[in-house]
């Protein structure tokens, strides 16, 4: 995995995925004893090949290759059910957040296209106006995915209900927001702290 290497603790001078995650989050993946309570409550378990306890297991087996090549971590809804129910404080939701952050850098080609397009469109839109502008978000998303007609039939109904703003909001602090984006940079900074 092409993750930037923090201080090494591995047997052969190599940093394991569990160590990288520990460095990023302070969490100890080895605490997971595979009870499966996380997966029992996961709303997306019916649709993902890797359920939360599988993700924890693969972290402990140092299988970044399998984790990053699978769309499952990108289908996580971040609903925090797994973390709330984990009897041993493993915080799978935070682990999943950190895995996504690593995958953004090391395996962006495996991110499901619509999900990647949504996150990119969302963050671009915030940088453009400081606040989310739904029409701008949807248009950016459509251009990235080519799903031009998705939900298009709802436009008149949204307009009729006064729910679709046609002009982006613009805050005074937009330069401030852009500066924060620039200072936070990509995922790598986190590892280098």
């Amino acid at each position: 995995m092409a993750t930037p290497q923090p201080e090494s603790h591995g047997e052969h001078g190599r940093t394991t995925l569990a160590e990288t995650l520990h460095h990023l989050t302070g969490l100890v993946a080895a605490r997971c004893y595979q009870c499966g309570k996380c997966s029992a409550g996961c709303p997306m378990a019916a649709e993902t090949t890797l359920r939360p306890h599988d993700v924890m297991r693969l972290v402990n087996l140092d299988r970044a290759d399998r984790l990053m090549a699978d769309p499952s971590i990108w289908l996580c809804l971040t609903c925090e059910t797994c973390t709330t129910r984990c009897p041993n404080g493993c915080d799978p939701a935070r682990v999943m957040d950190a895995l996504r952050e690593l995958a953004m850098e090391s395996a962006p080609e495996h991110i499901p296209r619509p999900v990647k397009a949504f996150h990119a469109a969302f963050l671009e839109q915030i940088q453009a106006s400081g606040r989310m502008f739904e029409l701008g978000l949807v248009l950016r998303y459509k251009l990235k995915t080519g799903a031009l007609m998705q939900d298009a039939a709802s436009t008149p109904a949204l307009l009729a209900r006064g729910k679709l703003k046609v002009m982006p909001p613009r805050i005074d602090g937009v330069a401030d927001v852009r500066r924060i984006f620039a200072a936070c940079g990509p995922a790598k900074q986190e590892v280098e702290r």
Binding site: P43, T78, T84, R100, E101, V115, L123, K163, A183, R193
Partner: protein
């Protein structure tokens, strides 16, 4: 009571009736809201799914602005904004290294002392005032209280109610005169931010929620999150099969507003995709007679027979 107010992006757009009803309802309950000047987006799911530092720094900018305005508490009605703001506050307090990095990113004074609250918490605290001010008790209305994810989870961040057996929404609903129903899906996720990128999942999850509320005999689902609302109201036509009754989805603030006698238009009840007219009509009806509600129904049945 005076509270800072972080409406968040949705409450200015597709969730605008949540903003309208929050402002109107809390005004009636004598909670004064002061909007954070020049607030910016909290980063929502897209920031915390992809960049941890950004996911803490964006909410922190808003907490710092609130501090500069002299606010001690901020109300974030959107469950996702609430979660992002409260998570940022929690993580900065717990991690000195992170706090330092956020401080350098923010480049403005920030002491992290602003508490973050959500609407359910504030309404529950206002129950005595609410009971005293109810003009149109929603008697006979059965409500499925839907918490979803981020109002309650993770526990140490949300912290105002039990994550597995919460009662706060039901307590508020009871104070309006309506009856909360017992049902199974109140803590399940609606699909949240995958609404656009994976609509099929949102329809699958939403359908299970709406079906369960229907089975429990609810007249409406009450929510406290614009994403839950959009996924259950805007997307409901995609999950309803022929012959199934539509299920109105209302914000908790709208229900409370109705009971307080606030004009339904002011509460934004006309902006929904699933009509709320049955609920509005019920609130407008004169208070039921003290006799048990079953009596007129039996009379009507006899008349038909």
């Amino acid at each position: 009571m005076k509270l800072g107010y972080y409406p968040g992006c949705s409450l200015h757009a597709t969730g605008r009736e949540y903003g309208e009803s929050t402002v109107a309802t809390l005004r009636a309950l004598e909670v004064e809201l002061r909007e954070i000047d020049d607030w910016s987006c909290c980063g929502a799911t897209s920031a915390h799914a992809t960049n941890h530092l950004l996911s803490v720094a964006l909410p922190a900018r808003n907490l710092a602005l609130a501090e500069a305005q002299g606010l001690d508490e901020v109300l974030a009605p959107c469950a996702a904004c609430f979660s992002r703001l409260a998570t940022a506050r929690h993580e900065i307090a717990a991690d000195a290294a992170l706090a330092q990095r956020v401080a350098s990113v923010l480049d403005r004074p920030f002491t992290n002392h602003v508490a973050v609250r959500n609407v359910v918490d504030v309404l529950r605290a206002s129950i005595p005032a609410l009971k005293a001010k109810v003009m149109k008790p929603l008697a006979g209305m059965k409500v499925a209280c839907y918490y979803g994810c981020l109002l309650l989870r993770p526990t140490e961040i949300a912290g105002f109610d039990d994550p597995e057996a919460p009662t706060s929404m039901e307590d508020v609903v009871r104070a309006t005169g309506a009856t909360p129903v017992g049902w199974n899906m109140r803590l399940e996720c609606c699909g949240a931010a995958l609404s656009l990128a994976r609509t099929s999942s949102v329809v699958r999850l939403g359908r299970a929620i709406v079906e369960d509320a229907r089975r429990a005999g609810a007249d409406a689902i009450a929510v406290a999150c614009p994403m839950c609302h959009s996924n259950l109201d805007f997307r409901q036509s995609a999950m309803t099969r022929r012959g199934e009754a539509e299920m109105p989805v209302v914000y908790l603030t709208e229900l409370v507003g109705l009971a307080l006698g606030i004009d339904p238009a002011e509460l934004g009840l006309g902006r929904h995709f699933v009509s709320t007219s049955s609920l509005v009509a019920r609130a407008a009806a004169p208070p039921p007679a003290p006799a048990p509600a079953k009596v007129p129904q039996q009379g009507a049945a006899k008349g038909v027979a």
